[in-house]
Assembly symmetry: none
Homo-oligomer: 216 residues x 4
């Protein structure tokens, strides 16, 4: 197959997946009709079926995309530059945190993330994909904390793996509350406060003092 055609196909699939993500997020997977996705894209249903053999297949592609992302973009890099307490900032809360949000577009809105997670409990293959993504994110963050430990910022006895799990879980939990109307200003403040408490209590005294001096 000529590369040009190949490329066209890949781009066509990507456009469909992007549209599907939007519609899935708006309506939920089961309430999203193939017609909705086709309309969102301005094509006919038939066109979608040239690229994906079923709705299920399209859904799998939607799941796959962040999975590919997670393999291409080591998370630790995102964190490398900053210092530990930067994590507590809104920038991190808004953009970087949460498993799917570790990665640049296209990715899943929170509502889709929750639906997919629910679905994973009945779909081993899907569960496996999410597990992989989670491990990737977790490993990245854990590594970052290990680096901080070596640099003397985090205390040696801290279990960095659990610390990473905790922070990601905290962020996922808070984001979920936004789905039923808790104001993001509110969840953001909770994030800032709690992550701050958490990170300060794993820092060495030296690092805490330095931080204190920074602030002055």
């Amino acid at each position: 197959m000529p590369r040009v055609l190949q490329d066209y196909k890949i781009r066509a699939k990507k456009r469909i997946v992007d549209a599907a993500i939007k519609v899935f997020a708006e309506k939920g997977f089961h309430q999203s009709k193939m017609t909705d996705i086709a309309k969102k894209l301005g094509v006919s249903k038939g066109t979608i079926y040239q690229y994906f053999k079923s709705k299920e297949d399209l859904f799998k592609a939607v799941v796959q995309i962040p999975l590919e992302k997670v393999r291409e973009e080591p998370i630790a890099e995102l964190l490398e530059s900053g210092n530990l307490l930067d994590i507590t900032s809104n920038t991190f809360y808004d953009k970087l945190w949460s498993m799917p949000l570790f990665f640049s577009e296209p990715t899943w809105p929170t509502s889709l993330m929750f639906e997919i997670t629910s679905e994973a409990s009945r779909n081993p293959s899907l569960a496996n994909s999410l597990h992989t993504m989670y491990d990737e994110a977790l490993t990245g963050l854990t590594k970052y904390f290990e680096d901080q430990k070596e640099k003397g910022v985090i205390r040696p006895e801290v279990n960095t793996h659990h610390l990473a799990m905790g922070l990601i879980a905290l962020q996922d939990g808070l984001q979920g509350y936004e789905l039923f109307g808790i104001d993001q200003a509110e969840t953001g403040k909770a994030w800032a406060e709690i992550s701050n408490i958490l990170l300060r209590s794993v820092m060495t005294n030296k690092a805490a003092d330095a931080k204190y001096n920074d602030k002055r």
Copy 2:
């Protein structure tokens, strides 16, 4: 209407709702057919329609039940007896924590909780119900922390509201990971460790010392 009949109706509805919760949790709301629910209960589809005028209506009742629960059972009571760090135990992680699990049966399994939360993002009335439940739980836990503050266990400058939000979010997040196959032993350890760090760092020195002495 004679009370006896009414009671019968109420009990019948409750049995249907219980069955529906089970089926919804097993298969997800949209994959659950009215037939499945009827079968689980050993009745016919027609019977369900005598008590609920639609699947949507039944779903609302499923959502409603924990909402009623939350109003009848002030959460703080559950916590009253114990001391602060008991929260970090598995008992709390397994049974008491997470919004839906604050309450006694019947309630929603985690997978259903995630699906409902996702759905809430598109359904204001559902969002409202979840919001109410969350507020109730949050208020309860916050009150508990305020009590602890008055007793000198928690430091006065701590924002107990955010502390409560953080702990609930942490628990919800960790429970979600179980849906895609993270071992509960793992999430449980993370819970114990992180909630412990968090609570210790909001305790007064006096309380921390007392705790220390307890352990000895």
Copy 3:
């Protein structure tokens, strides 16, 4: 399940199969739409799907029915009474001959028989069903010829198995020609003449003489 309901279901399935046979014969399997069958029966499409889970499934039931028939009605009985040359009569050609036509209603019209046979070449399970039916018919007719051999009507050296195959094939072939417009009067005459030649040439001289005397 109560027997009455059970019976109802069985009868309902039979009514659908009967309608399907008619429509399949009129239009061919692939040109027959579920709507056509539903209309022929005066029910909605949904009803058919309560009894058959797919069009394929309905087709299998259509195939199955003559298969069951063939097991219930030993063919030899049909032949037992008459004498050998009765086979050459139109009665036999019209009603008794040809594999599917060995049996009483409901059964397949010739056009459906040809379509099913064609389909069998690509569908091993279907081929197996036809094979079974054919063997049953063949065995029955062969047994009849063996009886005639024992009675001294057919000569001992005749291969009754091949004779039976030949006669059934002859009849099937001739019936096929009716599908593209060869007059049944014509095929019937060919049947009478050729089957007569064939059977006379396998008869013993004694039997042939007796026959000759009969005619006088």
Copy 4:
């Protein structure tokens, strides 16, 4: 139109028809997609539509080709050389017999022949084509038998028309059984035996004796 171009077109159409016959035989007409035929040929769907305006049109061409053949190649020629009982040989069963197999390639495999015959029962124009082909074959064989009659090989009172019908029907019937898995060795033996009985019983004593002497 320049003859060269026209020739090209004719050859292109023929290649498409050949591919279509193969695919139709493999999958059946309705299960054969235009894409399948294009793939078998290594061209695109669009190309087929440049030569045939619809699938129906292509099907008609498939039917037409043997029809043209039958007009170009008088069947009797095929038989002229041999003697009567050669007809009973496997060579005849395998290659020459049966309506579609009277003719050299490309022609229809048995499964397609059965499907077309079934279809003819609902399609008068198709029935007409088959009828023509059948008549042509029948006339050819009848003529051959008449020749044999004149030569004193076949007895004068024999209805050669019915004899021809019978032999072709026998062969068609037996070939049909191969479609559902009857071994060709088996049908071939039946053919040899039954056609032999049939032909011997229409032969004059003289011819039979000559035959007998031949064998010696």
